[in-house]
């Protein structure tokens, strides 16, 4: 059996999984803030844009086998990725490092890619929830990528947190607008492990 191939930046690559999987497997760096290998594709951050058969698509939600030819570094793809990252960058308040194991991902991605235009300050919210004994949640660092919520709902099947509200009122929210302590959170840590910013921060340094 011959596996289908997709031409990525001129090189043939086995077309399995999503287009983003194929691009990353080819060793090409592409921003991806809401992709999580443990989770189904979310498709919310829209940073993994590429030009596929002449159309700009979010590569995480396109099967590689459905595409013939991909250009990851066309002028348009680079410019639009930069524009989405600029909108994302505006949501992250400058602050301390830390966070979970992936906590530096978003900031590193933004620094590594040209972010066009002025960066406006716009934070999701200002609340800080320190009620969980093991981690705290800092809304002003949240980019609403939904990885924490998807980990809680689709990986752990707990659903202690959800995405409440809509438009600019969208928030990551435990229970019915409760705190983590008053929700059904089991402190499993999956949300902290999935967070690409410092919105979800472990409280203790892990000792060996």
């Amino acid at each position: 059996m011959t596996l289908p191939a997709v031409l990525i930046d001129g090189a043939g690559v086995v077309a399995s999984g999503s287009l983003l999987d194929a691009v990353l497997a080819a060793g090409i760096d592409l921003p991806h803030l809401c992709k999580d290998d443990n989770l189904p594709p979310i498709g919310a951050c829209r940073t993994c844009l590429v030009e596929a058969d002449g159309r700009i698509v979010a590569s995480c939600s396109v099967p590689a086998a459905s595409v013939k030819e991909v250009n990851t570094s066309s002028e348009r793809a680079i410019r639009l990725r930069g524009a989405v990252l600029a909108l994302t960058a505006a949501m992250i308040a400058p602050g301390p490092g830390g966070g979970g194991p992936l906590g530096g991902t978003a900031r590193a991605t933004i620094e590594a890619h040209p972010v066009a235009g002025a960066v406006f300050a716009r934070s999701t919210g200002e609340s800080v929830d320190t009620t969980n004994p093991f981690f705290s949640f800092h809304e002003e660092e949240c980019i609403l990528c939904a990885r924490c919520v998807t980990a809680c709902q689709a990986l752990q099947h707990i659903s202690a947190i959800g995405m409440s509200g809509r438009a600019r009122e969208t928030r990551v929210t435990p229970g019915a607008g409760a705190t983590f302590r008053d929700s059904i959170c089991t402190s499993c840590g999956s949300c902290v492990a999935a967070c690409p910013t410092t919105a979800l921060r472990p409280k203790m340094e892990l000792s060996p």
Partner: protein, 469 residues
């Protein structure tokens, strides 16, 4: 259940949502994320107030909330603008021009009998031969959608989308209020061909009169359908016009779009292959099977047969519903409607918040599938709002930018973050930053709402740059 609670107490308290979650045996956070995502579900007790519709057609006709009054989003009585902010049955008077679809309701069931005399595959062939395309706005061939679902060789679900959340569009309400039997015949035909395991008719939560009319017609014609459909009312939200969002809403989930693939015809409602058709599309099936596909094709164009219901409102002498052959030029609609209310028609918003503005020099463009003008105008679901010499084009463009920002479901970054910024830049006359913003919202957004959102702003900037500098 959220809708029932809103009907009972007027609003959704936290305790009520927690109780509903317990009743449904779903986690509180999931009930909360769904309940907080609908514009029509208040989360605090409503004050006694007079509601004033602030949809575009009403604003153009002078609606403005006064002291003690509260502005609401579009109440879909655009032909009555400025309208009182509550629902009423669509008046027969406002059916201004009828063709085959809006002809008085049939007395017999000839279309259904013809469909039932055919096996499923033969009836499907009739739909294919008719060339009927979806009337929700995307104009996808109906037979191809049905074939896609039936090809899965699993039980299918049929969803009729009557959410109709677009300001300036009232055709589905009109059909359900005034021609419910023709709709019912179309539905019976669709159920005969698809033999769906589940059938849902989803209506706008504010369309109480349309729901009552449909339910009366269902009750009076028991036995014409294999089983009664589940009639559901939503909590509002323009994004429910997007079919995967509608599917999430029916499942009780947060109304946000799903990624495609899988397409709904492969995996839709609870994973079942699902056909989503608009109320107007389903009603057209009655015509296809009454007169046959050849007669159906005699109206409209070869590629887009049949008629289109145009919801016309704004600053026009005779607002209301016009049934016109597909391919009719936009300008012909205005001529039929008696022209501007005052002075001249200076512009028209064609396709609503997902469409674009056109100046009179572009009114020769026909109502057909696909882009009507590269800057945004589309036939879409047939909503046209007219602006005359008294109207403020800039204010109308700002209103559409605000609407699209408010109606973003919040899931993806370009639409949630970008569309409010489009409105801000437009309001601040910062035109230089708009090109890139409009491009990123239009190209990078997850679903059609975001992808189409730039149209009104882009078209207004293109035709009237001097108003925005």
């Amino acid at each position: 259940m959220l809708h029932a609670e809103r009907e009972r107490s007027g609003w959704l308290s936290r305790d009520a949502i927690v109780a509903i979650a317990a009743d449904c045996r779903i986690p509180i956070a999931e009930a909360w994320e769904a309940a907080t995502s609908y514009p029509d579900f208040p989360l605090s007790p409503p004050l006694p107030e007079t509601r004033v519709c602030t949809g575009l057609s009403c604003v153009l006709n002078g609606a403005q909330p006064g002291p003690g009054e509260v502005g609401t989003s579009c109440q879909f009585r655009c032909a009555d603008a400025p309208s009182p902010g509550e629902d009423a049955a669509f008046p027969e008077l406002h059916i201004r021009r009828s063709g085959p679809l809006l002809a008085p309701d049939p007395v017999d069931w000839a279309g259904l009998e013809h469909a039932r005399s055919l096996a499923g595959a033969e009836a499907l062939r009739v739909v294919a031969d008719s060339g009927l395309r979806g009337r929700g706005g995307a104009y996808f061939p109906v037979a191809r959608k049905w074939e896609g679902a039936l090809a899965q060789e699993r039980p299918v679900a049929l969803i009729v989308n009557g959410e109709e959340g677009e300001p300036g569009v009232f055709k589905d309400r009109a059909i359900l209020c005034r021609r419910p039997k023709r709709f019912l015949e179309g539905l019976a035909i669709a159920m005969h061909v698809l033999a769906p395991a589940v059938t849902v008719v989803f209506l706008n939560g504010e369309a109480a009169a349309a729901r009552a009319s449909l339910e009366a017609c269902l009750a009076g014609n028991e036995g014409m359908l294999p089983y009664p459909p589940l009639v559901m009312s939503g909590g509002g939200g323009y994004v429910l016009g997007e079919e995967t969002t509608l599917i999430n809403a029916i499942e009780g989930r947060k109304p946000v779009p799903r990624l495609r693939p899988p397409y709904p015809v492969e995996s839709g409602l609870f994973g079942i292959p699902t056909v989503v058709n608009n109320v107007e599309t389903v009603t057209n099936l009655s015509l296809v099977f009454r007169g046959g596909p050849e007669l159906f094709r005699e109206t409209g164009t070869a590629d887009a047969p049949g008629t289109k219901l145009v919801s016309l409102s704004g600053r026009i002498r005779h607002p209301g519903l016009y049934e016109l052959p597909m391919g009719t030029p936009v300008g012909a609609v205005f001529a039929a409607a008696g022209g501007a209310l005052e002075g001249e028609i200076v512009a028209a918003l064609v396709g609503g918040p997902s469409g674009g503005f056109l100046p009179p020099s572009e009114f020769h463009r026909p109502l057909l599938p696909g882009p009507m003008h590269p800057t945004g105008a589309v036939a879409g679901s047939g909503g046209i709002v007219v602006l005359d010499s008294t109207s403020d084009i800039r204010a109308a463009a700002l209103a559409m930018a605000a609407f699209n920002a408010d109606e973003s479901c919040g899931k993806c970054t370009p639409c949630r973050e970008g569309s409010p910024r489009v409105h801000e830049s437009l309001a601040a006359r910062d035109v230089a930053s708009l090109d890139e913003l409009l491009e990123v919202v239009g190209v990078a957004s997850l679903c059609g709402l975001g992808q189409m959102a730039p149209g009104p702003v882009r078209s207004a900037l293109h035709f009237w740059p001097e108003l925005f500098a």
